[in-house]
Symmetry: C2
Subunit: 486 residues, 2 copies
């Protein structure tokens, strides 16, 4: 057991992940996507630090953007985790204000609260091993230390920042794995320096993982980043409950500086300790990192989905959507990622440039820059199958218990054909339950609602017809999710 603890994980999940485009999009960023298996990175992070038999962790605090609040809550629910709180960052302000908000919240709830600050979009394949590392950091909290976890490098990586480890924090520490003093932060090095640092052995990757008492974090902000404190305190004081989410006050939070926690606090703190972690870790920061982390054949080729690599070497071929075939012939050190609405091809060495491509698409108003093909809503999701002159065909999934708003449209009629589950459909004053192979017609202007009262997902095909088919042709008469927009 721990002297402090249990630890409240603070899951940072507000990022955009544009370097993993087209899989990751602003509307559905990488932490909420499954990169390899059935679990998303966010779910993996939540489960890695989930309350368990060892009593190490308490329920998490989730920091995320307004657009992702339902996604985060649903994914936690599917993973069987009830959060301590889901805080909505009304505008993105980098990591420092988000961490400070979580620390202030938890300090108020429990003056002795201990937090593990954890980005929710990383991969740590050995969660048990990492939990042991976290436990090794706990004793240092007694002396008011903030503990950074540093990853022992397995290669001279130029894409990460490093932390230089100093002597052991005290004589009682484990001489190999115990906490050490921090000498300094090192910016991303060039290749030569990275090789030197690897040889010197005392440089660890900065993974953005920190353990501290909430009060000590707040104190460090007060000392090193006092300009953050006012706006973030006000944002928390003005936060309002929004269907169980805690929405930070937008105007106050927007007044906070956009700054990373390293730059604002950690690089200046003198009470920073470092616990090494010897094990696999990846920030999954770009497609090259995905290639490295994925199972490869003897030629270094990693395939995902229905991909065929013919005479390829050291390449990543991913067909993200079921059914789409990706064929690579003679590729060397390349990345190819295929989705039905967007395809990326680039050398591995230029994986970092993907975000520029996204910016370029955005400048040209290509919807694929930011919008995922599947649009997630609090009640489930929908996707456009085909958009033609005067019509649009959508596939709609309503999760069990999901309930769309009571709505009407001024310019379009809708045909619904149920293909899975049992849908409860309200048209005007009439309500009926329709199963597979049943259909209904919603004329222009008719008030209607779609719900899933059953235990299984409802899937239906919607054929819209009309002169205008934009998502903004909607009048909400009542909404279970208190939304003013769609």
């Amino acid at each position: 057991m721990t002297q402090d603890g249990p630890i409240t994980p603070v899951l940072l999940s507000g990022g955009e992940g544009s370097r993993l485009w087209p899989l990751s999009r602003r509307s559905h960023p990488k932490q909420f996507v499954g990169i390899g298996g059935p679990l998303t990175l966010f779910q993996q992070a939540a489960l890695r630090f989930a309350p368990g038999e060892d009593g190490l962790f308490a329920p998490p605090v989730v920091m995320t953007g307004a657009d992702f609040r339902f996604m985060a809550r649903d994914q936690l629910e599917c993973a069987g985790i009830a959060p301590e709180a889901v805080l909505i960052e009304p505008v993105p302000r980098n990591t420092a204000p988000a961490i400070l908000a979580a620390a202030l919240l938890m300090e108020a709830r429990d003056p002795g609260a201990v937090l593990l600050i954890a980005p929710a979009d990383h991969a740590i394949p050995d969660p048990a091993g990492f939990r042991q590392a976290v436990a090794r950091g706990l004793p240092a909290l007694a002396t008011g230390q903030i503990v950074a976890f540093g990853i022992a490098p397995d290669r001279p990586e130029t894409g990460y920042g490093y932390i230089e480890a100093g002597p052991l924090l005290d004589n009682t520490s484990d001489p190999i794995a115990g906490p050490r003093r921090v000498l300094r932060f090192v910016e991303k090095p060039d290749a030569a320096r990275a090789a030197e640092m690897m040889q010197e052995g005392r440089f660890l990757w900065n993974a953005g993982l920190f353990l501290a008492r909430a009060a000590d974090l707040v104190a460090a902000f007060r000392l090193h980043a006092p300009h953050c404190l006012g706006p973030v305190s006000a944002a928390l004081a003005g936060a309002r409950d929004d269907l169980g989410f805690l929405r930070l006050d937008p105007a106050s939070f927007a007044a906070a500086p956009s700054i990373s926690v390293d730059f604002a606090v950690m690089e200046k703190a003198t009470n920073l300790a470092l616990v090494p972690y010897v094990g696999a870790w990846s920030d999954l920061g770009d497609w090259n990192a995905i290639w490295r982390g994925q199972a490869q054949d003897d030629a270094g080729v990693a395939c995902h989905g229905p991909a065929e690599a013919i005479g390829c070497r050291n390449s990543l071929l991913r067909a993200e959507a079921g059914g789409q075939v990706l064929v690579g012939i003679g590729l060397e050190d390349m990345i190819a990622v295929a989705m039905p609405d967007a395809v990326l091809v680039a050398p591995r060495a230029r994986a970092q440039e993907v975000r520029h491509a996204v910016a370029q698409l955005r400048a040209r108003s290509a919807p694929q820059a930011d919008a995922a093909q599947r649009d997630y809503r609090p009640w489930g999701w929908f996707e456009t199958l085909v958009l033609g002159p005067g019509f649009r065909v959508k596939r709609i999934m309503v999760a069990p218990g999901g309930r769309l708003s009571l709505q009407s449209h001024s310019h379009r009629a809708e045909h619904w054909v149920v293909v899975e589950g049992e849908a409860r459909i309200t048209l005007g004053t009439q309500t009926q339950v329709l199963g597979p192979d049943r259909s209904v017609y919603v004329p222009i202007g008719t008030v209607h609602r779609l719900e899933n009262p059953g235990p299984d997902p409802v899937v239906l095909i919607e054929v819209q017809t009309g002169s205008y088919l934009g998502e903004d042709d909607i009048v909400r008469h009542d909404d279970a999710y208190a939304r003013s927009a769609v």
Copy 2:
């Protein structure tokens, strides 16, 4: 005007074009696809040799496979060309038997008939210039010559066969552009020999284009390839009319050897003349040829559709389907072709290997190996938008005048929503006409028919539900196109 003529073009359009996968598929091969503009290669070929004011050409004879007969006829109709005949090759037997069948047919119809044998999947950007070259070949027919058209090389190409030109056929010929004797055929050379041949100046590319009297072609087959004559004559004698197509007798045609006309006849013929053509020509044989023929920016990058090339050089980026975005970063000498159901990435230098990839996909039973997403039928086309457990959603286009068979299904029900045009729909004994936004339900077992009696295309969305959704769940009660299968 011409001493013989008008010339009957024989459009060879039975090929598979697997090296242009995924755009070209066995079910919809390259000659029937638009590579650049709105016209397909087949239409371009038909229009290049269309009857015109110069009286040079008569209506064409089309040689094609059974699967493409409606495609060929519809595309001719859209191009405003009424063919002399559309002959169906029941099995593919390479060019010699197809050409002999056309020659026998036309010799029977007109003993003085003159034929231009023309592959229907090549690009000749200057049709007027090429027609002049054809006209220059006509005088040689008086002495029973077969005239090959040779393309003056603009690069030391190793991918084509060559023909070596000899002295002028006679003193009255144009000393630059007039017919010459053929010295020999040269197989695809290596790079060094190709460079030598280009410098020597008397070697022209063999484009598979030949002009001859039908009787002289038949005589050449009789002399050099007598084993072709029996089976092909029998196939023509046993041919039957099939809704205006002339279907060669399958058993007889199958008995013909599968052999190219060069190998069977041209390389042996002593009455072969050669007319040079100085102008652009391409066999569009692989993606490298497409790259060469497409407009390129200063860095040699050719884009098609919504493709973004960032820092690329000498590469081809094609997004074939509207709306799909293809992003290439830092590509050098690469080809990337994206379609919603299949993507190809390969170095230009390995473009020839695409057919091996197709074979590999075929071996794994991937439907994308052979089937195009859009399935063309005599009445129009359909495509599957989504296939899920127990349901399938299709978009169906019925061309004006199109009429699906009177049919029923044993395992699936169908919902139809009309989104464009006016559809005539028969259900059991009832017939109704439905316009956009109208829908109808076809229960399992109900005999039904869909027709387009109007002047505009009909588009409808079909939602199938049922335990089995294969295309073979169909009972045809009556079919305007005399089909036994779908």
